[in-house]
Symmetry: C2
Subunit: 185 residues, 2 copies
């Protein structure tokens, strides 16, 4: 069974090495990991971004499941590209699993990111926009999408030393996928 490995991991300086480790973990559990950077795309071609999109979409269409790395990325929430892919796979009826290597609550991360105040019964940011405050790790759409289309978001018990390279929560997702999908590649 094939698992699409979504996440901002592709933006890491050692993106290829992280992908190699993720694919290896999948193989140990009898699953085939599909990592976006396995697509061969010329990053300097005029239509590079379109080529990457098409290659990623084709990989998703071939996969039976997604494991989304929802670790907060450059701001209080998950990487938008990864979130798009999670939604796409949920829409296609594929098995949706995900993890975040940051166990903190979304509202607390927004508090660290910008000034937040309580206004009536709403928590608001300086622009007056409501801060979602349901005691969840991120936007409710992703949290409940995982619960209803796969399995609950996997989180570490405590803060991690290296949120970009610790693959413990990722491996728990892989084990869950192997149980759910059967493990024949």
């Amino acid at each position: 069974m094939k698992i699409y490995l979504a996440g901002p991991d592709v933006f890491l300086p050692d993106a290829l090495e992280v992908g190699r480790r993720k694919v290896e973990i999948c193989a140990r559990h009898g699953l085939a990991g599909l990592y976006p950077l396995d697509n061969v795309v010329d990053r300097f071609a005029a239509d590079a971004s379109l080529q990457i999109f098409k290659a990623n979409e084709a990989m998703m269409d071939h996969a039976d499941a997604i494991i989304a790395n929802l670790t907060p990325f450059r701001g209080p929430g998950a990487d938008a590209g990864t979130v798009y892919e999670l939604g796409y796979m949920a829409g296609r009826g594929k098995l949706c699993l995900g993890y975040s290597n940051d166990p903190s609550l979304y509202a607390d991360r927004v508090r660290n990111f910008t000034a937040v105040e309580t206004l009536g019964d709403r928590l608001v940011d300086p622009e007056g926009l409501t801060v979602e405050d349901f005691g969840r790790s991120d936007n409710l759409m992703m949290i409940h999408a995982l619960e209803l289309h796969g399995g609950p978001l996997v989180l570490p018990r405590a803060s991690l030393e290296d949120i970009w390279h610790d693959l413990t929560a990722f491996e728990l997702c892989v084990a869950m996928a192997a149980r759910r999908l059967g493990s024949a590649i």
Copy 2:
């Protein structure tokens, strides 16, 4: 035809009024706008966030198309909940349209958000993570999803006074939806 009206509009202090205006614009074009806050959910129930998720997903399943407001939200990129919904609708094969009320480029917004430097052939943030720099308005997954599953992202020609209440780009999307879907409600 029914259009799901996705966006961080639901976080505005006057979220209901903005939704009313959006639904009215849809009606003028012969379309039925479905606005997430039309769902009646008790925000203080223990399972409020799950109820909201289920109501939004049901609305999306009933809709023929999505118009996603991808205006940058509390950081350099679009709202994660909206991005999830765009992915979900693309996965379901629905017509995908979207707009952003900020015409700037993603990489430029990241530059305003954090220190960015060029390292070899990559633009990187202080954590060493690559900044996507394809001359696009946001993450390539959303940009090309719109192009391939609906119509290109609609942007204003210049900066707007009030990015949260200007509905010009939104109305262009509605007109596009009416042409593509036919306008019988």
